[in-house]
Amino acid sequence: MNAPKFWITRLGSIAIVVLFLFLLQTKIAPALGFLDNRLIQLGMLYATLAVSLNLINGITGQFSIGHAAFYQIGAYSSAFVTIHYYNTGTIEGWVWVLLMIIVGAVAAGIAGFVVGLPSLRLRGDYLAVATLGFGEIVRIIIQNQEKLGGSYGLTVRAANSPEAIKLTQIWMIAGLAILVIAICRNLLKTAHGLPFLAVREDELAASAMGVNTTRTKVTAFILGAAFAGMAGALFSHYEGFITLKQFDMNQSFLIVAMVVIGGAGSITGAAMAGFFLYLLPESLRDLPDVSGFAVFGFVLAAVVALTVAIQIRKRLSLTQAGGTQTAFAGMGLIGVLGAGYLAYWIWSVEVPAMTQVSLTIMCAGLAIAMIFTKRRIPNLAGFGWVVLCAGLVAALTIPMIHLLQSVSFTHAILADISYKAGNLRYPLFAAMLVIVMLTRPQGMLGHHEFSWDWLKRIFGLPHKRTEIAA
């Protein structure tokens, strides 16, 4: 590579990022409503968290499931410093937040070092449980510190005023997400990323090739934790008020689920999963209440569909008879119609634009997947099977709802039950995690990075051969 071209691309990409952040802050964010802004900012924080955990979990292969603890340490340590040392009017707010990011990173990085040490002796599920235990210890200790607000929560305020301050701006959150993604991507683009991958693949062989496995693992933990701590610092100065509930075990599981669903080891997978898996369920909050008939009709349909689909898969046993193709195509058609109806419906009800756009994207994705999947059956039967299930569920839901409504016994029970759509997001999330594990254990992207060629290959379109990766 020649030097001028090198510097032009490097500086050019940095300039583009700066320009993007500037536009985001001054043009895009003001154009969106408060709620949409909030969703986007939290979504980007989750993307940061997922990418940082991916460095530990996916790239280095050290299964850690206590990531919310690092997030929490970053949030509380920076909030504590702000409460004691920040005076409004003395220093620009945004400069102070950037300093607090460093505080959060250092505090969480130290914690990451402490948690990284057990990883030298423990592997697999034992390490997972130890990190979980560490996360809970952090939470319980903070719960019992009155100076940190204990179980009541902590208001982030300046030392000279009792009011909560919210110093974080959208460009910082977006900038952090881009920074973390860029660091991870650059690491893997140079030979420096290979020791991390080698530790994941085979520790003994890695050390025989001269990789200092101890240092590699601890580095991954420190880096991942520091990134999460930075996100935590931005979070506490964004919310202005933090409580323990925002960092509990479920939160840790949520982040793990994002990494796993996105595909452990894939940076783009983790980032997209972090962003969208936060955004989509969260946008359910704005939907109208869902009746008990609909929820249980859906559950019933899912159970029936799963049973039927398992039977079909058993009978066909992955052979590619012409009948299978037709069956999948039929199911795909039903699924596409269902997705189209959902997309139509979402624009007819009163919900924020963000929700409409995200749900439409989801529907379109579903529909595209269904249309193209039949080309992939020979080499990805599992994926086709998922589509079959989805199609069956879509087809069966309405009849099942009618069934529940017409039987007097279920009608009596379900008639006056309705659920807030927002409350359905965690069950949906958990079910999705289990289903992804059962059908595609390597996650959406597996170890791959997202690229158009990869997408083309998945759908069986003509594509280039992948170039050298290292």
């Binding site: 299964f63 057990p118 130890a130 210890i137 689920a257 594990m437 254990p441």
Partner: protein, 347 residues
């Protein structure tokens, strides 16, 4: 000139004597004051309470350890099975207590049987739907699935059992809760009748389990499978049946523990009811040596005693943290646990 190792020994000796002296004259009075200020009268009571609490942890821990022994899987959903057991007990009491004035003995029996049956069914269902398809998958995928199942049960049951305030099993259901029993043999120890009954039932269940594992055909098959899954399968043992039976027994024990704990304490039942007991029982299983059945019982008792000792010291805010501290210490220094032989997964 003294040889090098002698000089080192001398230095260690001098420092040691100095430390000992400073300990005696500096720390000893403080420690003595602390020791004197404790309420020693409560210690034996707390230890006994700890053993009783430990019997509950032991019952749950048995489920973890048996499943781990057979499948090498940390069944994260076990705590949720426990939670469901408590809810089943509550609903059985709710339905039968209001309508029929049956004897409390019969009612309690129905509650415990109901919990055990429903929990067994739930455990087997979870294994069938979520774990069996993944049996040859990497262990981390199964672990994630277990976490997913646990989250799913917790969050979806939140939609179903969403009465506010959270329900609890009333005192009237369990008359034994209020009966105080004084044990003169041990001085002034006081129990509720319920506590004694709980301990008794737990011990009976453990003895039954011991009998099943040691002396029956299926017990022998279970031991063989936990020794070597693949070889056992090759030797003609129906491993699927063994796994199913393991989940039935483990979940039933958790159901019994849940019913007893919920009835005796009357804690408000929420869907995260199983989270902490589940984690603590898991720690108990690790402490005793995961995969080892007597180890789980020992670990359960130690766990219960340790928790109440923390309360006795006066740090009851930290009583939940002690489990995790024990966990990390065990994993760091003796990963096989106290009685275990199963080595921690190596490279």
């Amino acid at each position: 000139m003294i040889a090098r190792q002698h000089r080192v020994a001398l230095a260690i000796g001098v420092v040691g004597v100095f430390l000992l002296l400073s300990l005696l004259f500096g720390w000893f009075p403080i420690m003595w004051e602390w020791i004197r200020s404790r309420n020693w009268g409560l210690l034996d009571q707390q230890i006994i309470n700890g053993i009783q609490l430990g019997s509950i942890y032991a019952l749950i821990a048995l489920g973890y350890t048996m499943v781990y022994g057979v499948l090498r899987l940390i069944n994260f959903a076990h705590g949720e099975v426990y939670m469901v057991g408590a809810f089943v007990a509550y609903y059985v009491a709710e339905v039968w207590f209001e309508k029929n004035s049956i004897s409390p003995w019969l009612l309690l029996l129905m509650m415990i049987v109901g919990s055990m049956v429903v929990c067994s069914a739930l455990g087997v269902t979870i294994e069938r739907l979520a774990y069996r398809p993944l049996r040859s998958a990497p262990r981390i995928s199964i672990l994630i699935t277990a976490i997913g199942v646990s989250l799913f049960l917790q969050q979806s049951l939140l939609l179903v059992f969403r009465t506010a305030p959270p329900p609890s099993i009333s005192e009237t259901v369990n008359p034994f809760r209020t009966i105080k029993v004084d044990l003169p043999v041990f001085g002034e120890l006081i129990f509720s009748g319920g506590q004694l009954a709980m301990f008794g039932v737990s011990v009976v269940l453990m003895i039954m389990l011991w009998y099943v594992v040691s002396f029956t055909k299926i017990g022998r098959a279970m031991r063989a499978v936990s020794h070597d899954f693949n070889t056992a399968a090759l030797m003609g043992i129906d491993v699927n049946r063994v796994v199913t039976v393991t989940f039935i027994i483990g979940s039933a024990l958790a159901g019994a523990a849940a019913m007893m704990n919920a009835t005796a304490l009357g804690t408000p039942l929420k869907t995260d009811y199983g989270l902490l007991p589940g984690v603590k029982a898991f720690v108990a299983a690790v402490l005793g040596g995961i995969g080892n059945i007597p180890g789980a019982v020992l670990g359960g008792f130690l766990m219960g005693v340790a928790e109440l000792l923390v309360v006795w010291i006066g740090q009851d805010l930290y009583k939940d943290a002690v489990a995790f501290v024990i966990l990390i210490l065990v994993l760091m220094f003796k990963p096989t646990g106290l009685l275990g032989t199963t080595a921690v997964e190596k490279a």
